[in-house]
């Protein structure tokens, strides 16, 4: 599998009245072709900002990509002009957002919005684009696709809207699909439908997916490779089997243990004490040390680097030694 997208030392900061928020702080990751990368973390850990940085969707001001490279098909997207980015957006890289209602324009029909994307990026006239739009709606499992194509977003249910969003995102056969919490707003049975659909589409089209979520269950089901983020930094990275079987970073371990699991019984949940640190007032040293039960002196002084401790397993923690 070749590399499709690689992010190197990305830093995206927000300059607010109260100070600088380092939303993404020196993040490097790689997405290979046909791979699903799961990005996990709690709210405010920078997982969405990382994804939005790829397509330069950061509101500026106050946000700004301060440094780093985002290499997609040999080109650095951080240096791309607005018109170059627009050619990539919705064409080679598409996004599905958490709340489908707010990301679909309520005054246009579903069809109009898909057709617009197709006409814009592909060499098709409106007639052909409409055909393609109906095909896409069928592909994502929407019944009565030739009627739904003329429906307005509010006429569809939440699950159907998310399907329509996926149809729109997939219409131009993107190389990379960024799915930002695609099922968080949906009910479990609908979530199962959407996840199933995404898996199926991925197998059909060989699109890479960057799946951003806080739900470890979803990651376990969907992802090939997992990145765990905390306070703007990657704390652990490994393939999906390794991370669930052999988590190393205390934060990852805490996350896994704090969630009740349906097929297991626990007397008491293990919880990570304390709160996510205030982004304006990060602790010295390792950002996780105030909540870490294994914190040592060095953790309070020095920030650990993300280093490889095993083949394909990277962790940023002073407890582990780098293996060359």
């Amino acid at each position: 599998m070749g590399e499709l997208l690689s992010i190197k030392n990305l830093k995206t900061y927000f300059y607010t009245e109260d100070g600088v928020i380092k939303a993404v702080d020196d993040v490097s990751l790689t997405i290979r072709e046909g791979e699903t990368l799961g990005v996990v973390g709690e709210s405010g850990c920078g997982k969405s900002i990382t994804a939005m940085s790829i397509l330069k969707l950061i509101p500026n001001p106050p946000g700004k990509i301060v440094s780093g490279e985002i290499i997609f098909e040999g080109k650095d997207l951080t240096k791309a002009t607005d018109s170059e980015i627009r050619k990539i957006r919705g064409n080679k890289i598409s996004v599905i957002f958490q709340e489908p209602m707010t990301s679909l324009n309520p005054v246009f029909t579903i069809g109009d919005q898909i057709i617009e994307a197709i006409v814009l990026h592909q060499n098709m006239n409106r007639e052909q684009a409409r055909e393609k739009a109906i095909d896409m709606l069928k592909l994502v499992g929407i019944p009565r696709a030739n009627e739904v194509v003329d429906a307005y977003p509010h006429e569809l249910s939440g699950g159907m809207r998310q399907r329509a969003m996926i149809a729109m995102a997939m219409a131009c056969n993107p190389k990379l699909l960024i799915a930002d919490e695609p099922t968080t707003a949906l009910d479990v049975t609908i979530q199962a439908q959407i996840l199933d659909l995404m898996r199926e589409l991925k197998n059909k089209t060989n699109t890479s997916i960057m799946l951003i979520t806080h739900d470890l269950g979803v990651v376990a089901e969907m992802a090939d490779h997992v990145v765990v983020m905390y306070a703007g930094k990657i704390v652990e990275e490994a393939d999906v089997f390794e991370i669930f079987k052999n988590p190393l970073h205390p934060y990852t371990i805490g996350l896994l243990e704090s969630k009740p699991i349906l097929n297991q019984d626990k007397e008491r949940l293990n919880s990570i004490p304390g709160q996510v640190p205030n982004p304006l007032n990060m602790p010295e040293g390792c950002y996780f040390h105030p909540r870490c039960s294994k914190a040592m002196d060095i953790c309070r002084k020095e920030q650990p680097k993300l280093c490889s401790v095993k083949d394909g397993h990277k962790v940023a923690c002073h407890l582990y030694k780098e293996v060359k």
């Binding site: 607010t16 009245e17 004490p273 304390g274 709160q275 640190p277 205030n278 007032n281």
Partner: protein, 314 residues
Amino acid sequence: MAEVKNNLNKGVELKGAKKEDIMSPWKIVRHRLRRNKLAMAGLYILLFMIVVSVFGPIVQKYVFGITMEKIDLYNISAPPSLKHPLGTDEVGRDILTRLMYGGRISLTVGIVAVSISVVIGSIIGGISGYYGGVVDGIIMRFVDIFMCFPFFPLLLMLAAVLSDYKVDPKYRIYFVMVIIGILSWTGLARIVRGQILSLREQEFMQAAEALGLRDRRKIFRHLLPNTFASIIVSATLGIGSAILSESALSYLGLGVTPPYPSWGQMVQVATDYYVMKYEYWKWIPPGVCIFLTVMAINLFGDGLRDALDPKLKR
């Protein structure tokens, strides 16, 4: 049990704050307001106007022996001089003193008229929002009808009636305040009603119900304090428009009448072509005063709105 307690206490620290530095909601508003330079400029201009209007006439009277009615026969329609920094009017009265006195009247009109509309508007809006249903329907239709009256023609008409009944100029001004107040409560009633309707849906109101709190407490501790913000903003902005209404009325000779001055009435002299062209000192200062005061109020009101509504922060 001790173990349980230990577990309960495990690691809850307040995010990034020192122990003694409590930020009450009003403190935050003050803090935000202070960072808004335009709003602060508005506030200072306004404070300046108030101080000068309140204390100016006293200083003039006891220090310089000039009152607003005192006629200086040697200086009729005189341009600015050391004795009369802003000149005199056509009967020889000191314009600066009249301006200060006019400021008193304009600001009083603004504040009293708005107080009247705030009282009526909050009570009616509050009742409408709290009881909802049929009560709300009837009150709001009444407000709709009230809003259909053309404000300014009605104002003119009522003022004309006052003139007809030959009300003493001394009391006229109070009638003007009441009329403006009574005609302008509807907007506020709607704002308060909307606020209360949305507050009632907030979960803390449901919590208050679940706690079994008395109605009195629910209204005075939970509902009202949360509507203050929007009432204050719309009252502040309302003072500006009340001052403008009074100025317009007085300019047309239907508001404050001589010998009592008001800014609008003082500008009236500019209807005379000669005064307009050659005696600028008679009408420019009151015009500037109206402009500055209303602008200051609007700047401050907008700043206040931004400070009170965290959603507009960015």
